[in-house]
């Protein structure tokens, strides 16, 4: 019987107890996996933000408009290689609860800057050519079952058409996917010109601009110069890196990072107690046989390894099951959670989970292992 066999046999001596302990570990890792994925979804915007991309908004607040003419003037600032603009449409499909992230964009420039949006070249061509067409993100298309070529009537909770209608009719030109699982495809994009020509108010304004700089090193200077350009006008601007903008945006929701950390922390303190307690119980029950093992020549090191090995095996067994379940759960929840961002289980989360398993195994095994190691043969056998 090898050393590993011995650990395995020990582990399953009290089957019910082991199974219960594994369940506790499983639950903690499941919670960790799902919440880490949730947090990644919220932070995805910060992570995929381009280092050479800046966002210029109205200085008062990013929900307020700015003149469309700003785009041309900004493009002439040195260090700016491309400028696109976009506007929030407040769109929904049929009913207000089917709320959509809908942007009216400056098509060519926008798609040139956001290279992470992928679609077949033919679809891209169709979109650029047809002013009343719309690009639909994969997450949205999946949710509603929309296909290329479908007619798509959208309403706005902000705008009205000049003719009094509250509905804009679009044709789906393409389905957009991301070049990375973290790219958020929960959005639809259409031609700014279509909105500008038909809406009853908002003439000559757009929402914000996206600037691509020639080099990220130029960012600070470009930000200063662009804002200086529009200082003391009726529409002052504020330019930030895309990353800083997305971070501030995510933080508006509240300190979700703290909530996630607190819950995961509580779950892990719980299993630390439960598993540590179980291991202690186990070692206490085996005092006699540990003494025997020592007598027949097991070194204290081996005894130590035997107990730590058992707690490690427990942690890894429960942990791997929990993480596997979290991965499955993230697949199942992806579409329901898409409004928070791309809900994709990441490799980093799995890596971090393995580190947690190792720590858990170590901490829960340490005290019992020391106790086993220090078992006094004479007293232990005598007590029996």
């Amino acid at each position: 019987m090898t050393f590993i066999d011995l650990i395995r046999k020990n582990l399953f001596r009290k089957k019910l107890r082991t199974i219960l302990t594994v369940i506790a570990i499983f639950v903690a890792f499941l919670i960790f996996g799902v919440l880490a994925t949730f947090q990644n979804a919220l932070n995805a915007g910060v992570e995929v933000a381009g280092a050479d991309r800046l966002i210029t908004t109205n200085r008062i607040n990013f929900t307020l408009p700015m003149p469309i003419a700003y785009a041309t003037r900004t493009a002439s600032v040195s260090g700016v290689s491309r400028v696109a603009h976009a506007e929030w449409f407040g769109g929904y499909y049929q009913e207000t609860r089917n709320f959509l992230v809908a942007f009216a964009i400056d098509p060519q420039n926008y798609l040139d800057i956001y290279r992470e949006y992928l679609m077949p070249p033919a679809q891209r061509e169709t979109f650029l050519r047809d002013k009343t067409s719309i690009l639909v993100g994969k997450a949205v298309a999946d949710q509603y079952g929309w296909k290329v070529g479908d007619r798509l009537p959208l309403k706005s909770n902000i705008y009205r058409q000049k003719n009094g209608s509250d509905t804009w009719d679009f044709t789906i030109a393409g389905i957009v996917s991301g070049d990375d699982a973290r790219v958020d495809t929960n959005l639809v994009m259409f031609h700014y010109a279509y909105l500008a020509d038909t809406r009853s108010f908002g003439d000559g304004t757009t929402g914000w601009m996206i600037l691509k700089t020639t080099d990220a090193k130029e960012n600070a200077r470009v930000m200063r110069e662009v804002d200086a350009l529009f200082a003391n006008s009726a529409f002052e601007t504020e330019t930030k890196t895309e990353q800083a903008f997305n971070k501030a945006f995510a933080e508006q929701l509240g300190d979700l990072g703290f909530i996630v950390t607190a819950v995961v922390g509580a779950a892990f303190v719980t299993i630390l107690l439960i598993v540590g307690n179980t291991m202690m119980l186990t070692v206490r029950e085996r005092t006699g046989e540990i003494a025997v093992m020592k007598t027949i020549g097991f070194t204290t090191k081996r005894i130590f390894a035997l107990v730590i090995g058992e707690s490690m095996l427990l942690a890894v067994f429960g942990g791997v099951l929990g993480i596997a379940m979290a991965w499955l759960a993230s697949l199942a929840l992806a579409s329901a959670m898409s409004r928070f961002g791309p809900f994709a289980f990441s490799f980093d989360t799995a890596l971090f989970a393995f580190a947690l398993m190792a720590l858990l195994g170590l901490f829960t095994g340490l005290l019992p292992a020391l106790r086993a190691m220090n078992t006094d043969v004479v007293t232990a056998l005598g007590r029996k």
Binding site: L20, N157, Q252, A266
Partner: protein
Amino acid sequence: MNRLFTQIAAVTMMNLRSLPQRLWTSLATVVAIALVTGVLLAFLAMAHGFQATVAGTGAPDVAVVVRKGSESEINSILSREQVLLMQQAPGIAKAADGKPLMSAELYVIVDGLKKSSGTKANLPLRGLGPLAGDVRRGVRISAGRMFRPGTAELVVGRSVSKQFRGFELGQKIRLASQNWVVVGEFDAGGTVFESEIWADVALLQGLFQRGSTVQTMRLRMDGPQALAGLRAYSDGDPRLKLDIKSEVDYYARQSRSIGDLILYLGWPLAIAMSFGALAGALNTMFASVDARTREIATMRAIGFRGLPAFIGTMVESLLLAAAGGIVGAIGTYLLFDGLSAATLGSNFTQVVFSLQLSSDLVLQGLILALVIGVAGGVFPAWRAARVPLLAAFKEQ
């Protein structure tokens, strides 16, 4: 029957007296259950606090008028003509001088610096007309005074100065390309209004290039029953494509989405964690029964029945669970009750609220703890009740 009770009492006491022998494992169970209860209660307190703030806003006899389809004030726009037409609607209460009690308001978003994170967040800046105070009852200036119409003065809700930097009384602040002075702070009974900044509507119309348009109207009605008349009046005029709701109804709708979201996160998390704590409780209780096998068997041998052993174990388990539940509830109360938090509400602006525990919520937490106690006790108790007599003679 009487004897059975004596037996039950005796065995239960023995169980409980032996608890100190299993101090650490019992404590681990108590802490695990306390953490589960604590997590559940923290989420419930968050949902409850948010809902109490938002759903507690508004009066039943005040009507909120927005453009049809805009859902919230921030997306709405009303022309001067629409405002004038609505003033003539039936069922609007009148001031002493005969003027209809109505307030045409602007609702724009400005940046505030959150004290907690140091980042900018959306704050609502509301432009109010002269009659706003008569339309909205239940708001009073708690410090300083009201702004004077036509001047760059602000009054802020109590929550704003609590959560955001630079809004203390007397402070100068730059908002919307304009220097302002904070001249007053108002108390709105813990409602959403306390997360708002108020200023003169005419001044804001100029600053935000709104001409004579406003975003929303509030009308004080003769009574809640006047709402139907207002709607009929608006529907009958093609120039008025408006959504009219009572203020209570308007805010009740807004409270649902986020309040529900917090509940949908809190319950599944707490239930998942319960399974972990349950596993721990079962381990502890099985160990407890194992440790007392000889004792239980001996008692069976001298004529005790199985039921007392069952009940004794159940009581031990329930007691540990109840202790966990109570510790969890007290911990949540000390750490989180009254804690001020802010999140993005339906108007795309920050809503400041406090976490609120209530006896009803604590009860839900204790029930969850006791359910863990019952489930964690019943199988070990069953084993205890069926300990064979022979176990009394087994070596331990």
